[in-house]
Amino acid sequence: MAETRYRAPARDGLRIAALDDLIAVYHRASGITHLVVAPVPELLEAMAGEWRSLESLAEAFGLAAGERGALIERLDELVAAGLVEAA
């Protein structure tokens, strides 16, 4: 089976407003507002409009092998919220 890849909306598909320590993200395709904290904005930026593998994301952020689990957990959360598409 091919490796799972992830993609976030292109930059103009999101409206992002920093409100103190929270970040409000308006997702144009769904009309849903999400309130997020780190590392969500960084992840969304890293895969804005392009498919990225887990491997390439982990590498881009210099994650150690033991941190993959936490990254997958965040990605799953984003997929469930519809902010990220997995294929």
């Binding site: 999400h34 997020v36 960084e42 992840l43 936490a70 957990e73 959360e77 984003l78």
Partner: protein, 132 residues
């Protein structure tokens, strides 16, 4: 992440830039329609127990709807529960008016298990919001 050693400086810096957060803690909260709170203020509501599609069923101690006549289950109330009564009983732990303790608990458990799309859910949701 606890203080780690043995990684290159560059790696450590980048890792700080990506705070992965604690396992199990949500990093995304989605805003849902908040009709319920204001609904609680702009109207009074009621909750039929059980909902009309299961009318006549009894309520067991866990709030499940069971066939009428089931042993140790309670007959449903004759009238729908009033939203305000449910709110008071849930907030204060007291009984519903004119209903004894165990029966009240069973009815309240039924209410607590209501799902969207079931009659009474909007009312229950509005009470939930007000309880906070």
């Amino acid at each position: 992440m606890s203080d780690e050693t043995g990684h290159s400086d560059a790696g450590a810096t980048r890792r700080r830039a990506l705070m992965l957060g604690a396992a199990g803690a949500a990093a995304v909260v989605s805003i849902r329609p908040a009709l319920a709170q204001t609904a609680g203020s702009v109207m009074t509501c009621e909750i039929p127990v059980p909902d009309p599609s299961r009318a006549g069923g009894y309520i067991d101690a866990n709030g499940n709807v069971v066939p009428a006549g089931t042993k140790n289950a309670f007959a449903p109330p004759l009238r729908p529960l009033k939203g305000e009564d449910v709110r008071r009983a849930m907030a204060g732990g007291g009984n519903l008016p004119g209903v004894d303790y165990e029966r009240s608990r069973a009815y309240l458990k039924y209410v607590g298990r209501l799902q969207r799309g079931t009659t009474g859910f909007t009312c229950f949701a509005s009470l939930q919001m007000l309880r906070k």
